[in-house]
Each structure stands twice: as structure tokens, then as C-alpha cells.
């Protein structure tokens, strides 16, 4: 028998021997996992994004099984997953919060917002933000370098030709990665039923906003006066909307002189809430 053959036989034999040993060990040291945890983990999306606040889908499944987290704790899976988990737990489907989607609160793209310089640095908003605040005059606006788009794990964002990010709401899961990525806090998570948004974050005085952006909020207060439910208030030179009060009537959008307030198509008026 030649040497190589012996070597092959030896290594094969050693491997087989150790494998058999490990098989026995794994039988002996087998861990009984609560079958419910496995079931819940299967129901979860399994992408370990961490949007729920736990380390991954496995940790969330454990928390749900122990009753430390609600059945709808997974913001990514939405209602479908919450229902499945509720079924596994054998509980009635609790009233799930509405699905949240990301909204970009800036309309100042390359056309609307004046540029003061050519930014030639690395293509990342966070870097541009700390190097003299990017190329736009407005220090509150979108930097347009698509850091949020890169952060989105679900391909639910893209840059439009005007240099602004757009959200595909059907794909958005409300995981909040873009919110985290944006150095200017332009992106917020809002319940998907709300269709009126004040797309500006500028705290500058109205006349200063005018100088740097065509579509920035100038704090003229017309929306505040027009709103029938008192959902809009001007704080620090910026109109802010209280989504809990908003009924998506769109009257503010109609009077806004600079068209900062936008009404999204396909989102209808919701009934006024009982809270005044």
C-alpha cells in the first residue's frame, strides 16, 4: 500500500471516528428549546435588522415567548407577522399600531435650493454634514448624497432626478434605518394613513429661508389658521404638524404659499378623533 493511500485512510478514519463521537455527544447534550420560540422565529422575517430593539429575530422570539414583548413587536413584519405570532401564542390579535412609513421632510432638491459651492468630498451625507455642511445654502435641508438610500435594507428608497430621496411606501417597513442614517434628521416615521406632511425642517427666519430655498417653510402661519382641528402650530419659525390630531383634510396644503405642505395622493380624509 502506498503512503498516500494510508494517509487518506487515516484521515478519513479519524474524521469518521470524531464525527461519530460528536453525534453521540450532541444527542447527550441536546438542548430542549421551547418549540414556541422556534415557531415564532420562523414566523418572523429573519433578517435580524434590529428594528424591534432586540439583538435579532432570535432574541425577539425569545422575548415574545416569555411575554416580555408584545406579539406585534416586529415593526418590519407588520400585521401579517403579528397575526401569525398571535396565533402561535393563542391570544386574540391585539389592536396593532398602524404601519409606519418613512417621510422625507425636505423638498429642496437641486432645483429649489440654492447651492453655494461644489461639494467634491466623499459621497456620504454624514461626511458632507461635518465638512462645512455640504453644498447647499440651507443648513437644515437634504444633502442629497443618498446615505439614507444606502442605509435602506429593503430597497424602499431611491434618489429622484432632483437629488432628493423618495420613499416607496409599499416597500417601506418602518425599520428606521434611514432615520438613523440621516445627519440632518429630515426623515421621520409616520403612520401610513397620514397623507399631509410639512416637508421642511428649517428653523431660519422666513426671509432667510426665502434666500436659500423656494419651497422652505417661511412661517407665515396661514396653515396654522386654516387647520380646522388645530393640528398645526408654528414653533421656532417652522410649521409643525401634530399627526395625532391631523385628519388629512388637506386645507393647509391648499393655502401654503410656498407649497411646503404636501398632500399625498390616495390618502383620504380620516375621521376626526375623539380627543379634541
Amino acid at each position: 500500500m502506498n503512503n498516500a493511500l494510508i494517509g487518506v485512510l487515516f484521515m478519513g478514519g479519524l474524521g469518521a471516528l470524531l464525527a461519530v463521537g460528536l453525534v453521540f455527544a450532541s444527542k447527550k447534550f441536546a438542548i430542549k428549546v421551547e418549540p414556541m420560540i422556534e415557531e415564532i422565529e420562523t414566523a418572523l422575517p429573519g433578517i435580524n435588522c434590529g428594528a424591534c430593539g432586540f439583538a435579532g429575530c432570535r432574541s425577539l422570539a425569545e422575548a415574545i415567548a416569555e411575554g416580555k414583548a408584545p406579539s406585534n413587536a416586529c415593526p418590519v413584519g407588520g400585521n401579517a407577522v403579528a397575526e401569525k405570532i398571535a396565533e402561535i401564542l393563542g391570544e386574540d390579535q391585539a389592536s396593532a399600531p398602524s404601519r409606519k412609513v418613512a417621510q422625507v421632510l425636505c423638498k429642496g432638491g437641486n432645483v429649489e435650493a440654492a447651492a453655494r459651492a461644489d461639494y467634491d468630498g466623499p459621497g456620504d451625507c454624514r461626511i458632507a454634514n461635518i465638512t462645512q455642511g455640504g453644498d447647499k445654502d440651507c443648513i437644515y435641508g437634504c444633502l442629497g448624497l443618498a446615505t439614507c438610500v444606502e442605509a435602506c435594507p429593503f430597497d424602499a428608497m431611491a434618489m429622484n432626478e432632483n437629488g432628493l430621496p423618495i420613499v416607496f411606501e409599499d416597500k417601506c417597513t418602518g425599520c428606521g434605518k434611514c432615520v438613523e442614517a440621516c445627519p440632518r434628521d429630515i426623515i421621520v416615521l409616520v403612520g401610513e394613513e397620514y397623507g399631509v406632511h410639512i416637508r421642511c425642517r428649517s428653523l431660519s427666519l422666513g426671509k432667510d429661508v426665502r434666500k436659500v430655498c423656494n419651497v422652505g417653510c417661511i412661517a407665515c402661519r396661514r396653515c396654522e389658521k386654516e387647520c380646522p382641528v388645530g393640528a398645526i402650530s408654528i414653533i421656532d419659525n417652522l410649521a409643525r404638524i401634530d399627526y395625532d390630531k391631523c385628519i388629512v383634510c388637506g386645507k393647509c396644503a391648499a393655502v401654503c404659499p410656498v407649497k411646503t405642505i404636501e398632500i399625498q395622493e390616495g390618502k383620504s380624509v380620516i375621521k376626526p378623533k375623539k380627543v379634541g
Binding site: I6, F10, M11, G15, L18, A19, F29
Partner: protein, 190 residues
């Protein structure tokens, strides 16, 4: 007497981590807490002792008679990997907390060069079975001692006012270097 000297020599004078610089990865990685590092030390010691035994048996009863010395590293690694798997299963069953605390460093004992270094060194120095076992035990104890020393210091460091650039791994490496210097003072004693 010979065995005692070998043991002490391996634990202190030729400490695997602090003098021979083997197994630095878990040395820095799992030395944040004394309890965790004790568990890591115990797991590694077990793997070291058993792999010293098995590798000696393989070397002397299979590899040498069959002229297969060139398969030394591969077969030793195979044995070590299986042992680590065994330890991992055992720990997962017996102490889930420790299992979680050690995290990735537990399966990484497989690639801990201290374990393979031990097996290869024992062969190279043509130790007999008893010496190999003592050598393995000494290496494991030495590894545990080094880990515990660093972990104890690092636990205290949590409360110390460390300049920002040195926080975390930076100061740990400096401490490790100082420990190593201290241990090099034992050189030549045995």
C-alpha cells in the same frame, strides 16, 4: 520533581500567552470579566489537556509507525476542532449564560494557536505521555492565569479615569504589554 518543574515552567516562565505570545485573540477578547475569563480558561485548559493526550497518542501510535508525520498539523487540528465542538455543546447545555458571554470566542478556541502550538511543541520536544499531559495542563493553567490577571485589572479599569484615546482595547493592550514585561522577568529561572 521533573514534572513539577515542567509544570511551573510552563505556567510561569514560558507562559503561553505572556511569554510566547500564543492565543492573544481570546486574551484580549474575553478578558473583560473575571467570571467569563475563568470559564474561558477552564474550557481552553480542558481542550489543551485532552488534545495533548490525543495528539500524543496519534503521533506515537499512528503517525510515526505509518510514516505519516506530514499529516501532523491536519490531524491535530481535526482533533482540536472536535474537542471544541464537544466543549461548546457541553457549555450550551450546562451554562447558557457563560455560553452567551463567551460568544464567538468559544468556537474560536479551535483556531487558538496556543492549542495547536502546544500539540506541536510537545511532539517537537519529544515529551513522553506524562510530560505531554503536564505540559498541556501547565499551558492551560498558564493561559487561565494570564486571562484572569488581565480581566482583574480590566475590571478595575472600568472605574479609572483613562484618557479617551486609550479607552477599551487600547489600554488593554498596554496592560497586556506590561504584564508580559513582568513575566519576562522570570526568564531563565527554570
Amino acid at each position: 520533581m521533573k514534572y513539577l518543574l515542567l509544570f511551573i515552567g510552563t505556567v510561569i516562565t514560558n507562559n503561553f500567552v505572556l511569554v510566547q505570545f500564543l492565543g492573544i485573540c481570546p486574551f484580549i477578547g474575553v478578558s473583560k470579566q473575571v467570571t467569563t475569563s475563568l470559564g474561558m480558561g477552564a474550557a481552553t485548559t480542558f481542550v489543551m489537556v485532552v488534545s495533548a493526550l490525543v495528539s500524543w497518542l496519534i503521533q506515537h501510535f499512528i503517525l510515526v509507525p505509518l510514516n505519516l508525520e506530514y499529516l501532523q498539523i491536519v490531524s491535530f487540528i481535526l482533533v482540536i476542532a472536535s474537542l471544541v465542538q464537544l466543549v461548546e455543546m457541553f457549555l450550551h447545555k450546562s451554562s447558557p449564560g457563560l455560553y452567551r458571554a463567551m460568544g464567538i470566542f468559544l468556537p474560536l478556541i479551535t483556531t487558538n494557536c496556543a492549542v495547536l502550538g502546544l500539540a506541536l511543541n510537545a511532539v517537537e520536544r519529544s515529551y513522553n505521555l506524562g510530560e505531554s499531559l503536564i505540559y498541556g495542563l501547565g499551558a492551560g493553567v498558564g493561559f487561565t492565569v494570564a486571562l484572569l490577571l488581565l480581566a482583574g485589572i480590566r475590571e478595575e479599569l472600568e472605574f479609572a479615569d483613562i484618557p479617551k484615546p486609550f479607552k477599551g482595547a487600547g489600554i488593554a493592550l498596554i496592560i497586556a504589554g506590561l504584564l508580559s514585561l513582568a513575566f519576562s522577568g522570570f526568564a531563565g529561572m527554570i
